[in-house]
């Protein structure tokens, strides 16, 4: 067991709409990441993946509100901290975030070096420009970015290059946890490979201690992360190692999700894609019972009314379903 870098305990956050209605987007999520490990989060649009990422930074701005739970980064509990302290001491140095739309994250009127100065000055106002440039050049050379990029504007870089620049900027202070929210969804396969390679290298060299990777592309998650969690309607429905999750999913939702994998390999052409019908529930009024019951092929009356606890099994795995493992195996074998 390595040192636990990030621990989230029963985190609950909500959005408040214009009409003062609460939307419970993250509802009781707990997990931990050890040093040197990476964790992937999978799930469809609107299941709360990105909200979880935002909530974990401890930096809340409306309409997102904190309700309860703990976020512990390397022994330090950051939940309930003053936003200004969080910004000055936590963001960037303890926990770093790569947004989904990294293409638009860079201010078009400023040079790349200015972003680095911004990040470093927020934590250490005394650092001189020369020191910052040295730091930046060392890091850029290490991750294979051209040094000329430092003096360029964002529009002069290609999409893949912008994404890698954003990663370099947000990890300049060697954060303990890196949250990557769909960093490669907008890129083609070749640039995606470069981005992944760069993130791997940052981890291997110890600049980034642990990583949380969010995406809906399962083959990618399988190749990048050690463990995978599947999220549905604000809750985690299954957790396990990458291999177990892809080849032996237990929960009906993860089972359906794994059926939507598309890879250019022999034999994948014949089988039918398993699309899950319907849409996720409205989180203003989350269902009492299993949240997936409405769309589940195997749902019974039980599922809809009894709340379902997390059931641990095997080697650190967990799932959330009324049925037992044997019952689930039984229903899948009939397909």
């Amino acid at each position: 067991m390595g040192k636990v870098m990030l621990e989230v305990r029963n985190l609950k956050t909500k959005y408040v709409t214009r009409f003062h209605e609460d939307v419970y987007a993250v509802d009781g999520v707990s997990f931990a990441i050890e040093e040197g490990k990476s964790l992937g989060i999978a799930g469809e649009s609107g299941c709360g993946k990105s909200t979880l990422a935002l909530s974990m930074m401890g930096y809340y701005f409306p309409p997102l509100h904190y309700m309860s739970g703990d976020i512990i980064i390397d022994g330090q509990n950051i939940s309930g901290m003053d936003p200004d302290t969080v910004r000055k001491t936590i963001l960037g140095s303890e926990i770093a975030y790569i947004p989904q739309a990294a293409m638009n994250a860079l201010n078009p009127t400023q040079k790349i070096i200015r972003f680095l100065e911004d990040v470093i000055h927020a934590h250490d106002p005394k650092k001189s420009k020369k020191e910052i440039r040295e730091m930046a050049e060392a890091r850029f050379a290490e991750v294979g970015l051209p040094l000329e990029a430092l003096d360029k504007h964002a529009v002069e870089l290609s999409g893949g290059m912008k994404q890698r620049t954003v990663i370099a900027v947000s990890t300049i202070l060697n954060p303990k946890v890196l949250i990557a929210d769909e960093p490669s969804s907008a890129l083609d396969v070749t640039s995606q490979k470069l981005v992944i390679k760069m993130m791997r290298e940052l981890m291997e060299k110890g600049h980034v201690k642990s990583m949380l990777f969010i995406t809906h592309e399962l083959p990618l998650l399988y190749n990048v992360t050690d463990d995978i969690m599947v999220m549905y309607a604000g809750q985690i429905v299954e957790k396990g190692s990458a291999k177990e999750m892809v080849f032996d999913p237990v929960h009906p939702y993860s089972h359906g999700l794994m059926g939507s994998i598309l890879v250019p390999e022999e034999g994948t052409r014949g089988h039918k894609l398993a699309a899950i019908p319907g849409a996720p529930p409205n989180l203003k009024r989350p269902p009492d019972g299993c949240r997936f019951a409405e769309r589940c092929k195997y749902a019974t009356a039980d599922c809809r009314y009894t709340s379902i606890p997390e059931k641990p099994f095997g080697d650190g795995r967990m799932y959330r379903c009324v049925k037992s493992l044997d019952e689930l195996k039984e229903v899948y074998s009939h397909e």
């Binding site: 469809e44 649009s45 609107g46 991750v143 294979g144 970015l145 051209p146 999409g159 893949g160 290059m161 083609d188 396969v189 070749t190 640039s191 995606q192 490979k193 470069l194 992944i196 390679k197 760069m198 791997r200 290298e201 809906h216 592309e217 399962l218 083959p219 990618l220 399988y222 190749n223 990048v224 892809v246 359906g256 999700l257 059926g259 939507s260 994998i261 598309l262 890879v263 250019p264 390999e265 022999e266 994948t268 052409r269 014949g270 089988h271 039918k272 894609l273 398993a274 699309a275 899950i276 019908p277 849409a279 397909e335």
Partner: protein, 285 residues
């Protein structure tokens, strides 16, 4: 997984639906000349599911615009159902668009914001010569189209497109195609902006639509895994040229061109090791 393997049909003897000879598009003049599409030849058969695969900037979208008649080819000829395509006047273009329709990448900008969904679907019925139908008949047609794409027409009446989610909008787009029943459907990355789960739904619908109406589907994508799953034949595009084309099984499982091999090796897979060691971070600089 429910094993209902699709039948692999042979399309080599089917009549040609859309074909081109030496189609070229050049932007700019003199020193600033960019050849976006460079003398490509293609032949799409009736009822075939064709994929055009390439990276960003390989000229896929430029080609699709020429196929749709939205921009003129600098050189070369495009044949529609065996005859040379004529889109020289607005009237002829409208005639041509009865035969070819498109679904675009961004569902959010594909609809007129000021038109209600009823109007969108009614327009399609009118375009197919359904002006004289009774109100009830039109309603039935619209319900049928919505039912085909797993939407409930009753819930959509009096709504505007922006009230729907991205996946729903993309499905509504397919409902339009269902009503219009064109000879050719050109789909320009329709699944790149939706998640993996809605993607499966949309692909399933496109396949059903093809089987039901026998239309030709030209599917433009950068995801080679998706192209392999869905298509009968695949065209691989690099720098405005087709470097390889043929049946999906042949091209993807036994690639010949170096570019195709690289594209396939760059896709993360689940049964093989994803080789990151070949990536040179500095090569991109």
């Amino acid at each position: 997984m429910n094993e209902t393997a699709r039948v692999q049909k042979d399309f080599t003897n089917a009549p040609l639906c859309l074909s081109g000879k030496g189609v070229t598009k050049i932007f700019g003049f003199g020193d600033k000349k960019t050849v976006a599409v460079d003398h490509v030849d293609f032949a799409f058969h009736e009822g075939e599911f064709v994929s055009i695969v390439g990276e960003s900037g390989s000229g896929k979208t430029t080609l699709s615009k020429m196929l749709l008649g939205l921009s003129n080819a600098t050189e070369g000829e495009i044949y529609f159902q065996g005859k040379l395509r004529d889109i020289s006047s607005g009237h002829k273009k409208k005639e041509y668009w009865k035969g070819i329709q498109a679904i675009f990448q961004d569902p959010f900008s594909s609809f007129n914001t000021f038109q209600k969904i009823d109007t969108v679907l009614l327009d399609c019925i009118n375009m197919r010569g359904g002006k004289g139908l009774s109100k009830q008949e039109k309603f039935d047609l619209m319900s049928e189209a919505c039912h085909f794409v797993n939407l409930e027409f009753k819930e959509l009446t009096n709504k505007y497109p922006f009230e729907l989610s991205g996946g729903q909008m993309q499905r509504l787009m397919i409902a339009r195609i269902f009503l219009l029943k064109p000879k050719i459907l050109l789909a320009d990355e329709p699944t790149s902006m939706v998640d993996a789960c809605s993607r499966a739904t949309i692909l399933d619908m496109l396949l059903n639509l093809r089987d039901e109406t026998g239309m030709t589907v030209i599917f433009i994508t950068h995801d080679i895994g998706l192209a392999y799953y869905i298509s009968d034949s695949v065209y691989i595009m690099e720098h405005g040229r087709f470097v390889e084309y043929g049946k999906a099984d042949e091209v993807i499982l036994h690639p010949q061109a170096a570019y195709t091999k690289r594209l396939i090796s760059d896709v993360p897979k689940i049964h093989e090791e994803w080789d990151l060691s070949t990536v040179d971070l500095k090569a991109d600089a």
